[in-house]
Symmetry: C2
């Protein structure tokens, strides 16, 4: 790249755009489909059910302990496909860049995306770059869309129609790490901590459970809105309720401390590497065992169950023995967390 900062011309569609695409994007993401550089990526696909999803990432700051906006943009979309029962295959990447961003920073983010894509076993096959004038966006926003093939037996997974009273609810590890890691990186707070975002692609962990797919009744990743919102949504307007035990929910000490300090409820703090599973009671132990053998499931726990009582409501049994309703996040705890 001739320029050390991003210029408006890098979004022109002309010669500077070509330079940026060739020397940064294609160099790091390069694969036979992307390298065609057509108006659309074209690839062969088998007959079946296709899963298609999108997310924009506006996290502030763009680098934080454990991850960055690039890793997040890959893992987040991989996870949306994975919890839909799909094998993630191809991603698009759309960049909105603020004029003046250092090219070296952009490249660091792009490298991070390429590394995570490789780890997740997917390809970034098409993209787009827009540059907006200084002050009209905040450094860098990334949109990724993803396509994947739904694995046989998972076609109806998202409908939730297999969920039934007695099913157990499992999470693959501690909650709140991502949200608190991003918070700790915001300069104005000046907080010292060892917190790391849990940002990770979950398709590998979820694939390990395929042998038990007939017992997996529902999956969702607990991102914005946190575990609490996922649990509230799970039974919202449904003929069953959810019972959760507060003490069973893993929370790292650092997250608990920081939440207390800042007045946050870990239940509503964002995660970027946590999947909530609803599974048939009989297979619960086997599924937890498999999860714990995977690096991303070492802290897997059964945190509650589906109940015939209080349909539509999620009840949390607190550590001191009381009960409270877990509702969806009402306002906004932490803007720009992903």
């Amino acid at each position: 790249m001739k320029s050390k900062t991003i210029l408006l011309g890098h979004g022109s569609g002309g010669r500077l755009s070509h330079e940026l695409i060739t020397s940064i994007f294609v160099r790091h993401f390069g694969n036979p489909i992307l390298n065609q550089q057509g108006d659309a990526a074209v690839f062969a696909i088998e007959q079946g059910a296709l899963a298609f999803t999108t997310d924009s990432y506006v996290v502030d700051p763009i680098f934080f302990p454990g991850a960055d906006i690039g890793k997040l943009a890959v893992a987040g979309t991989v996870n949306d496909l994975s919890v839909s029962g799909a094998q993630p295959l191809y991603l698009s990447a759309g960049f909105i860049i603020e004029e003046g961003l250092e090219v070296a920073l952009l490249e660091k983010v792009v490298e991070s995306m390429a590394t995570e894509a490789k780890k997740a076993g997917i390809y970034i096959v098409t993209g787009d770059t827009k540059v907006v004038d200084r002050g009209k966006c905040d450094k860098l926003f990334i949109n990724t869309a993803g396509v994947g093939m739904v694995k046989p037996g998972y076609e109806q997974l998202q409908s939730g129609k297999f969920i039934q009273p007695g099913d157990k609810i499992i999470i693959n590890g501690a909650i709140g790490d991502h949200g608190m890691a991003v918070m700790s990186a915001r300069n104005q707070l000046n907080i010292q901590s060892q917190l790391q975002s849990d940002c990770a692609s979950l398709n590998g962990l979820i694939n390990e459970l395929d042998q038990h797919r007939e017992h997996i009744h529902f999956m969702r990743d607990a991102t914005r809105g946190g575990l609490g919102t996922v649990l509230a949504e799970l039974c919202d307007k449904r003929p069953f309720g959810v019972n959760i035990e507060e003490e069973a929910i893993p929370v790292h000490e650092g997250v608990r401390g920081m939440c207390e300090l800042l007045g946050f409820d870990p239940l509503y703090v964002a995660n970027e590497g946590k999947v909530v599973l609803v599974v048939g009671a009989a297979a619960t132990d086997q599924i937890v065992d498999i999860m714990r053998m995977h690096p991303l499931g070492k802290e897997a726990f059964v945190i509650g169950e589906i109940s015939q009582d209080h349909p539509g409501k999620c009840w949390l049994q607190t550590a001191i023995g009381g009960n409270r309703i877990v509702d969806m996040l009402a306002g906004e705890q932490l803007p720009r967390i992903c």
Copy 2:
């Protein structure tokens, strides 16, 4: 919607997000696939070649004569699929919204997207909303990604390998309307004009040409960078050149006048409803005739041809008889034009 403006909480993933999704997005885009509201849209697909593309839209202002950011976000992605030889099927929509945007404005954009989606015969099946604090983006950015099935016979279209000397180059109408319409809408210029953006979904027009698909050797839509950049790219590093006649290129009077006034070259001004076709010489007249019968091809013209001479270069024969090389746009004429 209870609030008349967008709040940070509308991007929280919690209750306010649900309200926004239900009362604006699902209400206007609603279709059986979107209505499932899973982490990913899931739909059946036939075996074949899938086309997958993405674009972010950051046009300023978000409303301009003839279109708006919403119509643009649908038509632009539909067109990228169409010129790849694909039948556009499904779109994702990712919104990045500035805190404080009027809900009524957002809804007007969403309505416009729904109208254009219906016109193009495609469905918006999945989406995402992020809200950033005031001053951290400019009102509204939209990303759309799209998937479509490549029509039989078009699998290799984008490679350009069918292009050969003697082929004719056709455009479906006048250039520069979009760029100049957006410019005229920028308040600071205070220009009065009757210009309208040419923003339109081209899949209908392109489908009309399917009976001649063996004669269609290449297609590309001339957006950012304009017709000039498409022509320069067409022969860049290829064993053939391009000859263009300036007088054959349709340019509306208003665009010509405004370009002269502002010092722009219409060749590099953005279009959002223009396709450049490279076709076998023998079928040229028939293809132009079919195009002219379609509302979006009434001003179709043959503007030049593929040449054995000057490989890698595009030569423009000017109206006064001279020749000049048409290169890719070097810098940036008009930032945030799409």
